[in-house]
Amino acid sequence: MNKKPRFIMCICTGQCPGFKSLDLWELINTVRQEMDVEYAIVHPQLCVDDGDRFIKDYIRNDGKYIIGACAPVMQRKMMKDAFTEAGGDFEKQVVPLDLRNLTTEQALAKVREALEIIK
């Protein structure tokens, strides 16, 4: 079974100024093409109801996830229950990254670091 982690970029509706210095498509294409991930996807807003439904539908209890979004404390608070309901464990399966107010290069560096951690 493929043990490569999956990368999810949550971009907070695409209108959050926190991500304005980040080129989303440069980030997601670099991650999926150049990094050792199963794949990389974008979600508009994981912290609201349709994000909840996505997680419950999507999460495998043996998968590893790097989630680029806002503050880890927020990611944990908003996604922990959905992971549990899907039979997973946020703490064990996720490396949450705060990619706000970063350039694309800075964000990519954080993803690379996370890949080392999640191995």
């Binding site: 907070c12 509706t13 209108q15 959050c16 100024p17 926190g18 807003q45 912290c47 609201v48 806002c70 503050a71 404390v73 927020m74 608070k77 908003m78 706000r100 107010n101």
Partner: protein, 95 residues
Amino acid sequence: MSSKSVPRNKIPWYPAIDEEKCIGCRECFEFCKNEVFEWDDENNCPKVVNPLNCVVGCSACKNLCSQDAISFPKIQDIKEIIRELRERKDGEFTK
């Protein structure tokens, strides 16, 4: 929620702070990178100074608040307002 075709100042989406409930933990202030809040040192609570900086549909600060001291309008109401504004042909905001 897509609202780009509607001027932000027409959308009443921003947090309201209940100073009675607020315990001054600063979680909301430290989380929001969009300068919606300023910290009111005198009252030791956040003050909404740039309401229109708030991302329509984002209520992260409310979700982080352990005291339920932050509230937002109902999201359904906001969706309705955006839909109506988008449909209004004469478009008061297009003048």
